[in-house]
């Protein structure tokens, strides 16, 4: 049924439809409204047979999920940024133990400097942890993909992280079609744990694995994620059959088939890009978009198929590896190198960091420059060159340790409030 509501509320309602058993929560901007609404749903009885707990930290919430999932519960939590880092050890632990936990990541930048706004640095920080990582473009997809996430997690016995842009999606109010409970029940059967803590059949979970077996265990984890590639597509089809919507899957092409220049990105920025590409195509540009919906497993084949006929690929991402460059760009590079070779130019654009607004105007400039062959290999979109150059010049003259953010202020000449004593 159609509703107009915020992304957070929509996700909370979608989770409730999946009949979770245990939900431990710790609040962090921008996920707070999700966990708040879930507490109300449980308390009011709208979400029955569910244990909701406010715990004392994110490390506690993921650990709580581990215990619950290991005992056979369908379990869920949400976090972002700093909270994700705080639970990092448990995040790796969950995937290593093969626990089908579903978690929403309300994508937010990681500090220092502390920043509550959206970017993908948090998602990137756990890309090697062995979780499935899916990205959604809209609140509708957020609803749909969370439902798919439980099924995927339980089929694979792997945890799944659904990435949803903080504020831009979580706090935006848009139209969503909330599925009927019957539809969800049809798609998502009850959770039957492959192995669980049970007095009827005791087992030990979490033994120490030495050099003699570790490599095989890790290889099989890698293999499982590759199996997931097919399953993700298959489930998206099943979902479409029951719910009538195209959500999820590995990648989605918007006019990329015959495009000369293809923009590649993940998450909500796709919406703005779609708007832009519609305009550009009307003006005669040969441009398209490839939206990556699954980041882990990384759909190398699907990406190559989509990009192989383009001449330029602009990989836009809200993240980068400090000291190296664009993360998504380097992964796209690696995937396409294997199959396509040198004819394809990959440009890395880093933008939207810490919530900096991504405008059609700035995106258009990228495409313009690319079509003139003038787009640099690495671009920090909308970078304030003046501030940067001043700071670099000052650094030449005067050594100063400490945080960059505060050093910039010295350079601007901001008078501190402190009085000399």
């Amino acid at each position: 049924m159609l509703h107009q509501m915020s992304g957070s509320i929509a996700v909370a309602k979608a989770i409730a439809l999946c009949r979770p058993d245990v939900i431990p929560c710790y609040p962090i901007t921008p996920q707070t409204h999700i966990v708040e609404h879930l507490s109300v749903l449980v308390k009011s009885g709208q979400l029955e047979n569910c244990s909701y707990e406010n715990v004392e930290s994110e490390f506690a919430s993921m650990s709580f999920c581990i215990g619950a999932s290991a005992t056979g519960a369908r379990t869920y939590t949400a976090t972002a940024s700093q909270g994700l880092l705080y639970m990092m050890e448990a995040v790796y632990n969950a995937s290593g133990l093969g626990l089908p936990i579903v978690m929403t990541l309300g994508n937010r930048a990681i500090g220092a400097p502390i920043n509550i706004w959206n970017d993908h640095s948090d998602a990137m920080s756990v890309r090697d942890a062995g979780w499935i990582q899916l990205f959604v473009e809209s609140n509708q997809q957020a609803v749909d993909v969370h439902i798919q996430a439980f099924k995927l997690a339980e089929a694979l016995s792997l945890p799944v992280m659904v990435n949803m842009d903080g504020f831009i999606l979580t706090h935006a109010i848009t139209r969503v079609d909330l599925p009927d409970p019957e539809q969800v029940d049809q798609f998502l059967p009850p959770f039957v744990a492959r192995q669980k803590l049970d007095t009827q059949s005791p087992l030990s979970i979490g033994a120490m694995v030495g050099p003699d077996a570790f490599t095989e265990v890790r290889y099989l984890a890698h293999h499982k994620q590759k199996e997931a590639l097919a399953m993700i597509e298959q489930q998206a089809e099943e979902f479409s059959d029951i719910f009538g919507r195209d959500s999820g899957g590995l990648v989605k092409s918007y006019f990329a088939d015959d495009a000369d220049i293809i923009l590649v990105a993940m998450g909500s920025v796709i919406g703005t890009m779609q708007d832009l590409v519609n305009d550009l195509r009307d003006e005669g540009y040969s441009v398209g978009i490839l939206s990556l919906r699954s980041f882990r497993p990384f759909p190398a084949n699907a990406i190559c198929n989509a990009l192989k006929n383009a001449s330029q690929v602009i990989v836009f991402e809200k993240s980068f590896a400090v000291g190296m460059g664009g993360i998504l760009a380097s992964e796209i590079h690696m995937a396409t190198q294997r199959y396509v070779g040198e004819n394809l130019k990959i440009k890395s654009v880093i933008g939207g960091l810490g919530g900096r607004t991504i405008t059609k105007k700035s995106l258009r400039k990228l495409v313009d420059n690319a079509s003139k062959g003038e787009l640099d290999d690495e671009v920090f979109m909308d970078l304030d060159g003046g501030t940067v150059i001043r700071e670099l010049n000052r650094q030449q003259e005067d050594q100063s340790s400490g945080p960059i953010a505060e050093n910039i202020l010295r350079d601007i000449g901001v008078v501190s409030a402190s009085k000399t004593h």
Binding site: P27, T32, S57, Q82, Y86, A112, L409, S418, H421
Partner: protein, 335 residues
């Protein structure tokens, strides 16, 4: 009176009626009785221009606590701050309200960060500079608990100040383990028969600090700033781990009028729900007697977060809160 003051006085009748009392800020008192805010040479460790809400108890408590610490250490303090309201409203980049050396690292580690600062001072033979760690109840009783316990265990020379407003206020009023039972927060909504925050055994950090047998533990309130100052001064006479918890009303989170922050703080103390006491090395050393005991309702009714508790149907919740006040009165010898 100066000419400026004269014309101001002409425009508006100003009543001077507090001469000779111990009212905070009174500059006509003898120096030994003046609060730190009554001196022009006060350090203004937190300067004006910060972004706290109207009526913020934390801004008031922090200002007094730090300026007092500055006075008694001759302006030689370094402060570490956990993520939370105080950190956010004092440092909206590119501005800062702090005039002291100050660091914000993460949410859960301020006790460890402060311990690191203290260790460096020790290693460099600096015995004059003192260290203060500060955070809200969320960063102290929940996510910062482990690091705090470690600091207590090592007896690091740090004064830890917890500004307790009973919730994660900065992120939108969610429940912490310091949230009083029955209180409405955004993650403990009173739905149907359910109370707001559940009545658990509670995590009362001052008692936990006492159990660590650290040199000095105290509780304070922003309604009695002389007392707060005295306790900060007392704390700074000790070396080693010290803990002070200040009850700081939050108008936004509590659903109270910004103008009633001080009154609320006083009612909390007078009802017995906020016991004021001191302890040294794990033993209760002093408690502030309640002069005029008030029924808990007087305190609760000024806060919309307790509106449902005062409904006739929820009289059992009210009873539980009354019982808690009685328990405090007995345990901390408040009457």
């Amino acid at each position: 009176m100066t000419r400026k003051a004269q014309s101001a006085a002409d425009e508006q009748t100003v009543k001077f009626y507090q001469t000779g009392t111990f009212t905070v800020g009174n500059r006509l008192l003898d120096e030994e009785f003046r609060t730190v805010q009554a001196t022009q040479e006060r350090s203004n460790s937190i300067d004006s221009g910060h972004r706290a809400c109207q009526g913020c108890g934390q801004a008031l408590g922090a200002r007094y606590a730090l300026d007092t610490a500055m006075r008694v250490t001759d302006n030689q303090i370094i402060a570490a701050n956990a993520t939370g309201c105080l950190e956010v409203f004092t440092t909206p980049y590119p501005e800062t309200a702090w005039s002291i050396p100050w660091i914000h690292s993460l949410f859960g580690n301020v006790a460890s960060v402060a311990s690191g600062i203290a260790a460096t001072l020790k290693a460099k033979g600096d015995t004059t500079t003192r260290v203060i760690a500060q955070g809200g109840d969320g960063g102290t009783t929940d996510i910062g608990f482990a690091c705090l316990s470690g600091m207590f265990d090592r007896n690091d020379d740090v004064l830890f100040i917890c500004y307790d407003n009973g919730g994660y206020m900065n992120t939108g009023v969610q429940r912490s383990s310091a949230t009083p039972g029955g209180a409405r927060t955004s993650t403990t909504m009173p739905v149907g028969d359910h109370p707001g925050s559940s009545f658990t055994t509670g995590k009362y950090l001052p008692a936990i600090a006492m159990a660590h047998e650290i040199p000095y533990v105290a509780t304070a309130s922003v309604h009695d700033l002389h007392d707060l100052e005295r306790k900060i001064e007392k704390a700074m006479t000790f070396r080693g781990a010290r803990y002070i918890q200040i009850d700081v009303p939050c108008p936004l989170g509590w659903g109270s009028e910004p103008s009633q922050t001080i009154k609320l703080a006083r009612l909390g103390v007078q009802s017995g729900l906020v016991p004021l006491f001191e302890a040294e090395y794990g033993e209760l050393s002093n408690s502030t007697k309640i002069r005029y005991q008030v029924p808990v309702e007087e305190y609760l009714q000024l806060q919309r977060r307790f509106a449902h508790v005062l409904k006739p149907a929820n009289v059992d919740q009210l009873e539980t809160i009354r019982a808690l006040a009685e328990k405090n009165i007995k345990r901390y010898r408040l009457l």
